[in-house]
Every structure is written in structure tokens, then in C-alpha cells.
């Protein structure tokens, strides 16, 4: 219903733009040519348009934010006194009933007359409010818009003002990203603090037992729950280690081939092919791991007389390693490619072979960048969820045998939060604590990666 209103704002904004532009042109002609204007006519148009659109949208946003509160408080006041004195929870139930009647028209024939009356009031309030929103929004922009239009003179520094507004918008957009991150961090942090009220911090960090099953009711049979994060993190590290054992050699050697040996045609063709690996959805990797690789490894293990779990860490790690090959290869290829040709020439001119040049000059020069790419890949491997949910196990055994089933932090978070849960039991809150720990861990790795990459940048400047 507000679509038309927004469309109107858009139309008026467009009109304001052309109006402002035309006025600027008229003024310019009156005072002797375009050069007498401080800014381009389009800047004046833009200034007029923004002076209309920004206040209008602000008024609109304010209305939308407070609309619900206004209607609710008006309707609550109209309710009979005994209903008004109900507890907040009960009152919100009554209000929900009112809203149901308003929005569905349902149950209107057998409702309490007081509630029916409230519903009628709700409807009428909504209606006049809608008009108020529309009128005030359209008018709210008109006044500043008109002021801007009237103030167009040849001395007006419209370009500076428009660019200033543009800068504020840019700042706003980066602020959105930053505040979202902060919001997520703090919400995870506060939930984790609630968890640490129930379970001591050091028991969580250094405990060797992970079995988060707790009884939900007093009379229910269930274990008391153990929340030691060590086995879970051990599983994560084991799988990430296997993944890196696959991804680092393969990715790095592929990068060396691509940047040093492959011709430019081969490179332009092969590099996107490798990057497609990164584009395969992780869920596809997941069932590839669970249905193809894991049984294969088990069968091979049986053939040579080894006991291999059907959800072995090896299977999950191998497939995850394949998934992150492009992270290592693509970034390392860029870094190796960025080593100046002068380095290669210098080495060749001393009689070094291509291989010696790569081993002794290119790789050492590119090493910080390569390390950075590897660290980024590691944080990716640690945070990866889908492959391990499908291919790694659930049992939190503290083992470093890659043939056994292990579980990871991400798998545990998924299992803790899937299904019917109370959201204030330690079991559920443990997911936030795990998430926080994982976040700190990957943040640490990213921090190191960025530092290493920055150090690399300084080397050739």
C-alpha cells in the first residue's frame, strides 16, 4: 500500500532534479553563460532532488518505526479498564486477537464485543494514520526541497554540497557493515556469557568430555551434560589439518605451474577452471564426501586390513581439502605473478635454471603472500560446515586417528540448535560459546594473515 507513496517520492525527486537543473540553466543564461555558475547544472538538480528525497524518506522511516507503537497505545487505551489491567503477557494476547480480526476479518462474529470494538478502532486508526503518513511524507520533503530550489544562485556551491552528501552516504554504507559485525559479535558474546554462568569458563575451555545431553525436565532420564570443548576443537583441527595437507601441496604446485610454466592461453583457461571448484556448493561436496569418498576409503581400509569408520575424519578432510584448493592456488598464483620480472631476469642472467629461479628467488619472495593465502584457506576450512555435517561423525572422541569418526565445532553447533530446544538451557547456549570460540580462533588467523600480507606489500615499494 505504501508502494504508491514511494513511487510518488521517486517521481517528485526526478521532477526536482530536472527542475533544479533547469533553474540553474536559466540563472546561468541570465548572468552570462555556464561559466558563471559555480557548479554544473546537474549538481544543482541533484541538490534539489536530494533536499526533497532525504527528508521525505526520513519522515517516512520515522512513521514506519513508530506506527505500531502509536496504534497499539491508542487501542489499548480504548479497551475496557479490566482488560487494560491485565499482565503484559495477557494483554499482548488480547492485542494479537484484535490484530487477527483486523487483518483476516476472521472470527468477527463470535468475538467479545469489547475486542470487536477495539478492532474497529484499530482499523480506523490505521486508515487515518496511512493518510497522515502519506501527506506528511510528501510535505516533509517539499519544504526543504523548495528551500533548496529557491536558494539556487550562481554562487551556490552545489557540487561541494552534493559531494558532501555522497560522502555521508558512503560512510553510512560502511557503517552498516561494521555495525552488523559488532551486533553479531555482541549477541554471540552475551549469549556466551549466559552459558558461562551455568558452566565455568575453564571447564568449557579445557574439559576433555563433550556430551551436551541434559535432561529437559526434572523427572526425565538423561545425563547431566559435559561441556568440555577440547574434543570438539581437536576434531576440527584434525579435519582442517588433513584438508590443508591436501590443499597446500596441490594448490601451491598448481599455482607455480600456472604462473611460471603455463603459457598465457593455458593460464586464462585453467585458472577459471580451478576457480570453479570454489563455486561448487558445499552441500554437493558434502554428499560427495558422504556417499562416494567415505565408503571408498572404508573399502580400501578393509582391503588392507584397517578398521575405518564409515564417517572417517579422513574422508571429510580430503574432500574439504579439494574444496579449498582454489583458495590456495588462485591467491598464490596472483602473489607469484606479482613478483617482478626483474627478479626472474636477474636470476636467469646469473645462469639459474627456471626451477632454481622458482625455488630460490620466486618462492622466497612470494612466501609472505603464500602464507597469507594459506592462512585464509585454514580459516575457511575451520569454519566450513556442510561437508562435515554430512561426512564427519557426531561422537566427540578425543582422538587424532584420521580413520575414526570425529566431530567438529560447526557440526556440534548445528546439532545443538536443530530440533526442539529450550533457548535458555546450557545445551543451547553452548552453541553460542562454541561459536564465540570459533570466531575468536578464525579472527586470530585472519589477523595473522592480514599482517603477513601487509608485510609482503612493503617489500617492493
Amino acid at each position: 500500500m505504501y508502494t504508491y507513496l514511494l513511487l510518488c517520492i521517486l517521481l517528485i525527486t526526478t521532477g526536482a532534479y530536472f527542475g533544479g537543473k533547469a533553474r540553474a540553466k536559466t540563472i546561468a543564461e541570465a548572468s552570462g553563460g555556464m561559466r558563471t555558475l559555480h557548479s554544473l547544472p546537474s549538481h544543482y538538480g541533484m541538490l534539489t532532488a536530494l533536499s526533497y528525497a532525504i527528508p521525505a524518506l526520513l519522515v517516512f522511516a520515522l512513521w514506519r518505526i513508530f506506527e505500531g507503537t502509536i496504534v497499539t497505545s491508542l487501542v489499548t487505551k480504548s479497551l475496557p479498564i479490566e482488560l487494560q489491567q491485565l499482565s503484559p503477557n495477557r494483554l499482548s494476547l488480547v492485542l494479537n486477537e484484535v490484530r487477527n480480526i483486523v487483518f483476516s476479518g476472521f472470527a468477527s462474529h463470535n468475538a467479545d464485543p469489547a475486542i470487536q470494538a477495539a478492532a474497529d478502532l484499530y482499523l480506523s486508526t490505521m486508515n487515518w494514520l496511512k493518510n497522515a503518513v502519506a501527506v506528511s511524507t510528501l510535505l516533509g520533503g517539499l519544504i526543504p526541497g523548495a528551500i533548496a530550489y529557491r536558494s539556487i544562485r550562481k554562487e551556490l556551491r552545489a557540487r561541494n554540497l552534493v559531494e558532501g552528501i555522497g560522502k555521508v552516504i558512503l560512510i553510512g554504507c560502511s557503517a552498516v557493515a561494521i555495525f552488523t559485525t559488532l551486533g553479531i559479535v555482541f549477541s554471540v558474546l552475551f549469549e556466551s556469557l549466559r552459558f558461562f554462568h551455568a558452566i565455568p569458563f575453564f571447564d568449557f575451555l579445557f574439559g576433555l568430555q563433550w556430551s551436551p545431553q541434559t535432561a529437559m525436565r526434572v523427572d526425565q532420564a538423561g545425563s547431566s551434560g559435559a561441556f568440555g570443548a577440547v574434543p570438539v576443537f581437536a576434531g576440527t583441527i584434525l579435519i582442517a589439518l588433513i584438508a590443508m595437507l591436501v590443499a597446500i601441496p596441490v594448490g601451491l604446485l598448481a599455482a607455480i605451474y600456472l604462473s611460471e610454466y603455463a603459457g598465457s592461453r593455458m593460464r586464462t583457461w585453467a585458472k577459471p577452471m580451478l576457480e570453479i571448484l570454489a563455486g561448487i556448493p558445499t552441500v554437493v561436496y558434502g554428499f560427495f564426501a558422504a556417499l562416494t569418498v567415505a565408503p571408498l576409503i572404508r573399502d580400501i581400509g578393509q582391503a588392507i586390513g584397517l578398521q575405518v569408520a564409515s564417517e572417517s575424519a579422513l574422508a571429510a578432510g580430503l574432500v574439504m581439502g579439494i574444496m579449498i584448493i582454489p583458495f590456495v592456488s588462485s591467491l598464490s598464483d596472483d602473489v607469484i605473478h606479482a613478483v617482478p620480472q626483474a627478479m626472474r631476469d636477474g636470476s636467469f642472467a646469473l645462469g639459474a635454471t627456471r626451477f632454481e629461479t622458482i625455488r630460490l628467488v620466486i618462492i622466497p619472495a612470494a612466501l609472505p603472500g603464500i602464507v597469507g593465502s594459506i592462512l585464509l584457506a585454514v580459516s575457511r576450512a575451520i569454519g566450513e560446515t556442510m561437508i562435515v555435517v554430512m561426512a564427519a561423525g557426531l561422537s566427540a572422541d578425543l582422538t587424532f586417528n584420521p580413520l575414526k569418526a570425529v566431530t567438529t565445532v560447526t557440526v556440534q553447533i548445528v546439532t545443538l540448535l536443530v530440533g526442539d530446544q529450550e533457548f535458555d538451557s546450557p545445551k543451547t547456549l553452548a552453541a553460542f560459546a562454541l561459536g564465540l570460540l570459533l570466531f575468536v580462533f578464525t579472527l586470530f588467523l585472519n589477523f595473522i594473515a592480514l599482517r603477513v600480507v601487509r608485510k609482503y606489500r612493503e617489500q617492493y615499494e
Binding site: R344, G346, S347, A349, L350
Partner: protein, 296 residues
């Protein structure tokens, strides 16, 4: 500029005819050669390198056109000429650095001590140890000063132990005139030195493998005058042990450091001769025009 062979405008000397012209202008009373055949003395007794009828093609484009020249022992040969005249291309042929350019093709013979360096049986690795190169921009490896100089000896296995390697590093740095400045910080990165020091480090790196010939591609163009003077002194000292071929845009530099000078023009070798002769009494019209600053 297509002129008929016997018609000559004073401002446009015929480039194609190969005839000798008498100039009517008073400022040019001398007789000049104006053809594209090399004039002067391209050959020397007991040459270190001999180049005969060398042609270089980038794809279909001919960059060097039938050049024959010798590089003598213990001499500095300067190659001058306007940009794009092929002097750097020719320089890079002398240690087969052009092999790294896929479209580049070299015809003719280039011999180092009577061995054709483009013969299929010749391995490019020992060749480049014999013919070292210093580049326009200093390009020390991002390693320590010591490792930079020790790089060549290490990959060629020139030393049996650390003591010998230390010795080579020290003598190379002494020869390059850098030892006094860096002897206390051999383990610091070579990239931390000043531009002039970096270039001398690159020279030390090149002479550490005891080459016979050192090629220098505008070695001073990225350096300030003081560093340039140091490198020029160094070139004069190095001449006692090595043959040096230097490409330069600074004619004063060519005059200062070289014994012989070769003038290149659009892929042709126009004139070769003793440096003092070239600069005081050029035989070819193009050489005269270039060194007096009429073009280039």
C-alpha cells in the same frame, strides 16, 4: 622517406642510396657516408665475442638487421643510439636472455671464444655464467646482501665450503667497490641499500661467478650523478679483468667509460670505431647528427 637515388634535399639526406654526398652547406664541409652499411672498424684482433650477420625477429618484425661486430678482450664497448634502435635487443642476444621472449628468433652466428652460443649443443646455463648481465633498474633479490652475491656461486657449485664462499663474496664486493660500505651488515636485506649501492650489489653478484663478459643495459639510468660516477669508476676498474658491453643513452658516459663505440639506428649498426674517433670525427651522417643532438 622515399627519395630517388640521385636527388638530395639538403635537409633530407638519402638513406637508401648508399652514395657519398658532398654537402653544400658551410657547416658541413666534410664528406659523409649516408648508407646503412656499417662504417668504421667493427672487427678487432683477438676478439672475445664475434657476431656475424646477426638478425633478430620478433614474430615477423625485424628488430636487428644483419649486424657484424666484435667484442674485444679487456675493452668497454659502448652501444649508443636513439630509443628503439635495437641496441638492448642486441645486448640481450649476447647471453641469450632473448630466449625468455617466446616470439623472438635470432639468425646468424654469435661466438664466445669461437663457440657458437646459439648452437643446439650449447647449454644456456653455463653460457650465462660466462656472460653476466646488469640491468637498467637495480634488481637485488629480496635476500641478504651476502645471499645476493653468493647466489651465483651456489647454483653453479663453485665452492666446496663456506670459507671459499665467504672469500668469493668478499672479493666480489671489494671489486664492486661496495665492501667497505656493507661489510658490517652482510646479513641485512639487499633491498635496503640505496639505489647506487643496489646497482653495485648487482654488479658484485654478476662478477661473483667470474664471467668473461659483462653486459650492462643502461646501468646508470636509474641512478643519481654521484652514484653514476661511482659505477663509471667501477666499470673502468673492471675492464682490466672483463670485457664489458654497455648500452647507454648518455653520450658523455659512453665517451668517458668506453674504448670503442657502436652507433645503432633503426635496427642497423651504422658506425663502429674508437670512442674518441666517433665523438670527434664521425664518418657517417647519422652518427654525426645523433651525437651533435640533431635528433634522437
Amino acid at each position: 622517406m622515399e627519395l630517388t637515388s640521385n636527388q638530395t634535399h639538403p635537409a633530407f639526406p638519402t638513406l637508401l642510396s648508399g652514395a657519398v654526398h658532398q654537402e653544400s652547406e658551410q657547416t658541413r664541409s666534410q664528406a659523409y657516408t649516408t648508407g646503412r652499411k656499417t662504417v668504421g672498424t667493427p672487427f678487432v684482433d683477438k676478439p672475445r665475442m664475434t657476431c656475424r650477420d646477426v638478425e633478430v625477429y620478433y614474430g615477423e618484425k625485424c628488430a636487428i638487421n644483419k649486424i657484424s661486430i666484435d667484442v674485444g678482450c679487456n675493452e668497454v664497448l659502448a652501444m649508443i643510439g636513439p630509443s628503439g634502435c635495437g641496441k638492448s635487443t642486441f645486448l640481450r642476444c649476447l647471453n641469450r636472455m632473448n630466449d625468455t621472449v617466446p616470439s623472438c628468433r635470432v639468425v646468424g652466428s654469435i661466438c664466445l671464444d669461437e663457440t657458437d652460443i646459439y648452437h643446439p649443443s650449447v647449454d644456456v646455463v653455463p653460457l650465462r655464467a660466462q656472460v653476466g648481465m646488469v640491468f637498467q633498474k637495480p634488481n637485488p633479490f629480496p635476500k641478504s646482501i651476502y645471499d645476493n652475491v653468493a647466489y651465483g656461486p651456489r647454483i653453479h657449485g663453485l665452492t666446496k665450503n663456506k670459507v671459499e664462499l665467504d672469500e668469493i663474496v668478499e672479493t666480489s664486493l671489494i671489486k664492486a667497490g661496495l665492501w667497505e660500505e656493507v661489510k658490517d651488515r652482510l646479513l641485512e636485506p639487499g633491498t635496503g641499500l640505496s639505489g647506487g649501492q643496489q646497482q653495485r650489489l648487482c654488479i658484485a653478484r654478476a662478477i661473483a661467478v667470474s664471467p668473461e663478459v659483462i653486459l650492462m643495459d643502461e646501468p646508470c639510468s636509474a641512478l643519481d650523478p654521484i652514484a653514476t660516477a661511482r659505477v663509471e669508476e667501477l666499470i673502468a676498474e673492471l675492464r682490466t679483468q672483463f670485457s664489458i658491453v654497455i648500452v647507454t643513452h648518455a653520450m658523455q658516459q659512453a665517451a668517458r667509460v668506453s674504448q670503442r663505440t657502436a652507433y645503432f639506428h633503426l635496427g642497423d649498426l651504422i658506425e663502429v670505431g674508437a670512442t674518441d674517433k666517433i665523438f670527434t670525427n664521425p664518418k657517417h651522417r647519422l652518427t654525426e647528427d645523433y651525437i651533435t643532438g640533431r635528433f634522437g
